[in-house]
Symmetry: C2
Subunit: 197 residues, 2 copies
């Protein structure tokens, strides 16, 4: 970094902490910031500060929000909760046209490898929401990897005794993808879960 | 953007103004900012503001700097100036091990298409630096495209009468690239400029 003047080096360093941003991309971003006008610069810096000040977790669902409880929790009347790992997964599920129910963000998965048990993610909170008696179905939309699967099975096991319908989003071949390039595990799962036409 | 709470939407909007950053990447960056700690956030926001406040153009070479004249202009004694289009090109040329001379940033190219003539870029300033009599060679390192070439030729034409050696960085096949994928213009140039071994 010896050739950068200090303020630029500092900004490049900050940009390079963003996910997937290397030295070269960070440099490109920093140089484009220098070219922005005063107003844009201030707006950019302020919105970085603001996001930290104003965004908190919804005390009900655990999603990011600027009001507590969040917009989804207060505006939707539903007997269905979709359980996801991270706040960004709520955005992904919101693309599902037929779903307009509630959410529950776990903030992680059960992971013995990383020493995270059921008490380290928001499973207690899910249990108490479900115990209220208004929830009929819990759709588990954790990622289809080892930890996501383990978490899904764990949640299913503790919810089923309460008489709740627990479902898991389907796994199989992605739409538009090529069978040739699908991995073995996915193919096996797609075969097992085949549907009659 | 309807599903984002406002402070997040604003930050995503700012990130998406960076070069090559789309909606999805901007969202990823914004979510990672939320996860940063207080100190990192403040440092990030400050360095964005600082870069605008502290960085100016060097009055001699035109490169970005926090002191005027810049570090390169004050510390190097050389009779060679390398002419580049943009401040970021100085960083690129600094990778050349054998070059430790001065720079001159044009801040653009001559471009009749975009209505930019010789007076819209820092050619006057180059002329007055060269007229001081201490400069023996001017290496033109503008990009090898139509505008960069035109600018190079223009500068060569006005400097040669002053008895200055004017050179242009070589054009040809990139190291490590494949002849098969080289474009016609590059191949022709590489052929014309062939060297005896």
């Amino acid at each position: 970094m010896k050739n950068y003047v200090e303020p630029i080096a500092k900004l490049i360093n900050h940009f390079s902490k963003l996910p997937g941003v290397g030295q070269k991309t960070a440099q490109r971003y920093a140089y484009s910031v220098i070219r922005m006008n005063e107003e844009e610069i201030k707006g950019f810096a302020n919105s970085i500060l603001e996001v930290k000040q104003k965004i908190k977790y919804c005390s009900v669902c655990g999603n990011f929000t600027d009001v507590d409880p969040c917009g989804i929790c207060t505006s939707r009347i539903s007997d269905t909760i979709c359980v996801v790992q991270e706040p960004k997964d709520v955005l992904a599920m919101e693309k599902v046209r037929d779903y307009s129910g509630l959410y529950h963000v776990l903030h992680g998965t059960i992971s013995p490898m990383e020493n995270r048990g059921p008490n380290d993610i928001r499973i207690k909170e899910l249990l108490s929401r479900v115990s209220s008696g208004k929830i009929k179905e819990v759709i588990i939309a954790t990622n289809p990897d080892v930890e996501g699967e383990a978490t899904a099975l764990y949640i299913a096991r503790i919810l089923k005794p309460l008489g709740i319908k627990v479902t898991r989003i389907a796994q199989g071949i992605s739409m538009g993808s090529d069978l040739e390039y699908a991995d073995e595990v996915t193919l096996n799962r797609a075969f097992e879960d085949r549907k009659e036409l």
